[in-house]
């Protein structure tokens, strides 16, 4: 009898993540069209469904691909396999979670909070997924004698992910989030740290890919690399308060996050200098596409960190808070940095096959970058305009302000569509190649 052959669980997970990105981009573009055209899709797929569908799809694209890519990298490093049941239970729980979320959203069943708007019970399979991931990673840990900084980033990122995910559900515990200020404070504390946690995992992966490309391991284990890592960690732990400057919480919360946020200037300048130097030195042909994605991420790190730093000055934050400037920042981060890095790493992991990327793939890359820059800029402009409006109370009603912004919203929707076409030119061939490609096996 022929033996049934199962696909590699991590490869399957990355494929699912790519499918989620494909869906997430579609929902996002539809949502942005409904901004500029009231009533658009209102009947069957209104904004109330589109927003959570979009957000959850892309959040799970990021989380699931980061998780699986870390696992693949760890497998390469330690040359060991973790027990199959850990992997397979994780995959089964992921499928249960994702399918339930989609069914609930389509049936208008919400109940959760921003980013996790699904009914709270779905958090149980998801929590088990993160715990199994952590268990698998701990299995590898004993086989890495002197871990470079990216290993530290993967482990702290994943541990914090579990912590922030649990903290995000504190509202289910009676008596904790029972007043407005504490409720919003803890909600945005965990939401802010969540992004910081996945950034740790993804930046770590980016560094790992860079080490593979350049063959230079030094930047990943120098004292400087560790100082930068700790600075990043301090920010993950203490800078979330910049989301809630106007909330009447304790004044120290504001001051601590202001001061801590400002230390990111150091990260900004250092990162820029280091990576640029490294990229310039060596550019092997075979990893062209991976490097292109990583370099694009590098540019976006710069632009976004600059924006984040400005937004973290409380006096400036008054103008940007509650406007599309925040949206520009989160789109720049999740698409420009996180997604570019993840796609670059996926390409890098296919290098053993000496992948050839066709003309369409390259065209897609350019479309994506062009679409994103227009999208980002228009969000920024409309946000600044809304910021001006909110600082002049009574200048005009909400409705007329939104009406004046119709042109911005149209450009936003069409640049989003441009980005979507770029994405699709990349993602469909990438998915095909990823499914066929043989990963380095142990």
């Amino acid at each position: 009898m022929k033996k049934l052959k199962f696909p590699d669980p991590d490869r399957l997970q990355v494929s699912l993540a790519i499918v989620l990105l494909i869906c997430g981009v579609f929902f996002g573009v539809m949502a942005s069209h409904s901004y500029s055209a009231p009533g658009f899709w209102k009947s069957w797929l209104g904004f109330i469904k589109l927003r959570p569908l979009h957000v959850s799809s892309v959040v799970f694209w990021i989380l699931l691909s980061a998780q699986a890519l870390v696992n693949i990298a760890l497998k390469n490093i330690t040359q060991r396999k973790i027990p199959a049941w850990i992997n397979w239970s994780r995959i089964v729980l992921i499928f249960i979670g994702i399918i339930s979320i989609f069914i609930c959203y389509f049936n208008l069943q919400f109940g959760g909070r921003e980013y996790w708007e699904f009914p709270a019970w779905i958090a149980i399979p998801l929590l088990l997924v993160w715990l199994l991931q952590l268990a698998g990673m701990l299995f590898h840990l004993r086989h890495i004698p002197s871990p470079p900084v990216y290993i530290w980033m993967w482990y702290t990122g994943c541990t914090f992910l579990v912590f922030t995910f649990l903290e995000n559900y504190l509202w289910l515990v009676p008596g904790i989030q029972n007043t407005p200020v504490r409720d919003l404070m803890f909600q945005w504390k965990s939401a802010g740290s969540l992004v910081g946690s996945w950034n740790q995992m993804i930046y770590g992966l980016g560094m790992y890919a860079m080490v593979q490309i350049t063959g230079n391991t030094k930047p990943a284990s120098s004292p400087l690399a560790f100082s930068m890592y700790f600075l990043g960690l301090v920010n993950l732990m203490f800078n979330w308060g910049h989301h809630i400057y106007i909330l009447p919480s304790h004044g120290a919360v504001r001051t601590i996050s202001y001061v801590v946020s400002m230390t990111e200037w150091i990260i900004l300048l250092r990162l820029f200098y280091l990576w640029l130097k490294e990229f310039k030195r060596k550019r092997p042909e075979a990893v062209g596409m991976a490097l292109q994605f990583l370099m694009a991420a590098d540019r976006w790190v710069l632009i976004n960190l600059l924006l984040a730093l400005l937004m973290s000055v409380p006096a400036l934050n008054l103008y940007t808070h509650g406007t599309q400037v925040t949206l520009a920042h989160s789109m720049g981060t999740t698409i420009g940095i996180n997604t570019m890095l993840l796609l670059g790493i996926i390409c890098q992991f296919m290098v053993p096959m000496q992948m050839q990327y066709g003309r369409w793939f390259r065209a897609g890359f350019r479309l994506l970058q062009a679409g994103l820059i227009i999208f980002w800029a228009i969000l920024l402009l409309s946000g600044i305009s809304r910021g001006y409006w909110q600082m002049q109370p009574g200048i005009s009603s909400f409705q007329s302000m939104m009406l004046q912004h119709t042109m911005y919203f149209r450009i936003m929707a069409w640049s989003g569509s441009l980005m979507m076409s770029g994405f699709y030119l990349i993602l469909f061939p990438l998915l095909m190649k990823w499914l066929k490609n043989k990963l380095p096996t142990v």
Binding site: Y35, G112, T179, R182, I246, P314, H321, G322, R386, M391
Partner: protein, 129 residues
């Protein structure tokens, strides 16, 4: 070297946990027992997709932190039951509507969400009105 890195990590983690614990001990004014129930109504109908509280949430609709000042419960009821070109109609029962109203009233009394009323200090910081 690795052991000193471990120590730094431990110290940071301890500071982080202490900070979190301290936040939990801060006084919590404006408690009312319907707040939590109203919050769940807000989540159940996903008002956050379009509305903000203290500037946090979706941007398609206005910030609702102080909306109860506009016309109290009747106004909220009217908005929820009739919607608008960009806002769907919601079918809520009376208890849900009352809880939601008390939740929003709690939000309103907890502070000021109007950025134009904040004062700035020379070091770039802000103080509430």
């Amino acid at each position: 070297m690795i052991s000193s890195y471990r120590l730094v990590l431990l110290v940071l983690a301890a500071l982080f946990l202490a900070y979190t614990a301290w936040l939990l001990t801060l006084p919590t004014p404006y408690y009312n027992e319907n707040f939590v129930r109203g919050r769940r109504v807000w989540q159940k109908y996903n008002c956050q997709a379009c509305h903000q509280l203290y500037g946090l949430g979706g941007f398609l609709g206005p910030d609702l932190t102080h909306v109860v000042r506009k016309g109290g419960k009747p106004y909220l009821k009217a908005m929820v039951e009739t919607g608008s070109p960009n806002m769907p109609v919601f079918k809520m029962n009376d208890t849900e509507l009352s809880d939601l109203f008390l939740f929003l009233r709690g939000m309103d009394s907890s502070g000021c969400a109007d950025p134009s009323r904040f004062l700035t200090t020379p070091d770039g910081n802000i103080t509430p009105p």
